[in-house]
Symmetry: C2
Subunit: 401 residues, 2 copies
């Protein structure tokens, strides 16, 4: 092969700086990036053991759970979904799934491939799954096993309300309650224990500001009992919870059992990312996301953008799905990247043509970022010059300093 | 939770330097580590597209293949195994698997969980799978689909011989030939196309000297036809080749289709790691591994270590499984780590008590490393002081400078 003789010149040293305001990855603080460049340790090294243990404790704090089995799957966010699906369900199970965007649809797909019975509970994109629809679907379904809900739908910008009431309903009916909190974790309240969530998964590259590559998951005792009661083995060797927990959780007499080689550098980064999240404090972080979302919303609205989620209280603070003002071409999106180094996301599926998805995740939920984005958008909307910034600043001022 | 109020002090800045001479991870060059700390890009950013494309070209060169579908699975080495298993097979298929160590056994386990019929072809640990045993097993098996072989068995240090002859036999019989080259890739000849390998997987943390977290895989047209001819969907959404290839391989009209968010930083590192491998040149790299393996072998043998692979020509140059001299306690292994910062691996399964696994992978296949290890071991073998170094140096000298 030719390339062997002429290795590619390294482009890695020339990676441009971007302001990542799409649906993820978000920008990572330098200390999180630098963590990945620390010296490698063996995956059974006692020092690495300490790192794993601290990471798990921090993950429990961020998930607001006491669940022992809380770890990071060696794969990106969707590997967390796959871990829940593969371990908790088998043919014969029936799972109700909230389907009001791409990620709920993805869960249905993942389960159906495994020959698990899926009962979708639909709502229009941008609208929440209604509690009464859940109750009705549960009652008319013969022997449902579980309900699986997406907390923040990254395709629509919807933040699902009524999480605790849904959890209580599912538990009263002896079902399992599963939650996708990929986009919400670290940016809006996620209360695994208080909401009666039995298993959940997340990603690192959204509000935790860590490079993609790991999927935090948590399982409570009810979920583990379901895994233990399986009739068939977990078909995925790679995601087998029963084996992997023996690596993450020290066995009696000390020691961890090898399953697969842990992604050492990614774990360093997640450790540092979680440390920064907890240093700020979860409530402070949620509040910051809420404030900056309000400012961005005021700015975008003043510039003529329209939110796809109509009900303001259902909007996810970290992901703004908006249609463009009539005087803005959608071709401005690649220009924002090429000319200003700002990435915003395109809409998915049916919304690909006319929707942008703007993320304000973790460190990017800041006054500076909101104003930079609004100022930059105004360059393409000369008739509204100044209106976006003015509205954003007024909202920030009204919402405390 | 308490920890939220008192975030753990960062241990990440205090990670000790280790010389990683276990079964992997190996040490990574600083430029490979630093690559992971470069600014994050979006997974659909045009600049990232260039990185993906270059990475794929380099991966093809390292695998010695022209296969279009050659990419890095978003998971550690075993995720590559899972990708091959999940996409190529389904109930009704019968797969012959070489089983002479932990990793062949793992492949059997992965396939059996999927209700695929497995016909193990056994050999004692440390001995190769014999071509005549393969031929016999193939003939007495009704309608075999494939043969799956581990090239370098990391549990035993065996390098499987006769790869091309095995590939030719399997193809003459219209089967698929699958290879696990996790440990061999970049450290010993791996010839995907010349050996008639239809699909293979590897890892990054062995002879490629990149942190664990990605699994290079390659599929040829014969393998892709088998995937296309499936009766049932691939049960794993996360590893679904058909969807993932639409992200890695640009679609007509340009563009990549979103499946899951690629692990950006890990991909930077693999790009840099592959660049360094090709900059040295594969043949030079293989030769270096061979020379350093000879030196280490001479040194260890002079110190009284015994190779578990009896036939010298079957020993993998990058992984030395040895039993200890009678005058060396196995408790020296943790001392090597704690007192000298040198990691060597324990034996696996039946060999846990009395075997060490010593890796010389990638950058660690160097004169300096071999002599440092031998010198350090001699501290615990005072009666043999100097003998190991002397034998190692003599071998290096005899094998050209």
């Amino acid at each position: 092969m030719n390339i062997e003789k002429t290795p590619a010149p390294s482009v890695i040293g020339r990676i441009p700086e971007r302001l990542l305001l799409g649906p993820g990855p978000s920008n990572a603080p330098q200390s999180v990036l630098d963590a990945a460049a620390q010296p490698l340790l063996g995956h059974l090294d006692p020092f690495f053991s300490t790192i794993l243990q601290e990471l798990q404790a921090m993950l429990r704090a961020v998930f607001r759970t006491e669940n022992l089995v809380t770890y990071a799957v060696s794969g990106t966010g969707s590997a967390g979904m796959q871990t829940l699906a593969a371990n908790l369900f088998e043919p014969g199970d029936t799972v109700l799934v909230g389907r009001n965007g791409v990620f709920g649809t993805r869960i249905c797909d993942a389960l159906q491939r495994m020959a698990v019975e899926v009962v979708p509970i639909d709502a229009p994109w941008g609208s929440p799954i209604r509690l009464e629809d859940i109750e009705q679907a549960w009652r008319r379904t013969p022997r449902p096993t579980a309900l699986w809900i997406v907390h923040a739908e990254t395709s629509t910008g919807l933040l699902q309300p009524d999480m605790q009431a849904i959890g209580e309903f599912v538990h009263r009916n002896r079902g399992l309650f599963l939650v996708d909190c990929v986009t919400s974790l670290g940016g809006a309240p996620v209360e695994i224990d208080a909401w009666h969530v039995d298993a959940a998964f997340s990603g690192t590259q959204k509000c935790l500001n860590v490079a993609p590559g790991l999927a935090p998951v948590t399982f409570n005792e009810r979920a583990l009992r379901k895994v233990a009661a399986r009739n068939l083995p977990v078909t995925s060797w790679y995601f087998d919870l029963d084996a992997i927990r023996r690596y993450w959780i020290e066995q009696e007499g000390g020691g961890r059992l090898y399953h697969h080689t842990a992604p050492i550098s990614s774990i360093y980064s997640l450790h540092e990312g979680l440390r920064l999240v907890l240093e700020e404090g979860l409530e402070a972080r949620w509040n910051r996301h809420r404030r900056m979302a309000g400012a961005l919303q005021a700015g975008l609205t003043a510039l003529g953008f329209t939110y796809r989620v109509k009900e303001a209280s259902h909007r996810a603070p970290m992901l703004h799905a908006v249609t463009l003002p009539p005087d803005l071409e959608s071709a401005v999106r690649p220009k924002l990247l090429a000319e200003h180094g700002i990435e915003v996301g395109a809409g998915l599926a049916a919304w690909a043509a006319d929707t942008w998805r703007i993320g304000l995740m973790g460190v990017n939920a800041s006054e500076e970022v909101v104003l930079r984005l609004v100022d930059t958008l105004e360059k393409y909307l000369p008739a509204k010059k100044g209106a976006g910034r003015k509205a954003a600043e007024a909202t920030l001022q009204a919402d405390g300093g």
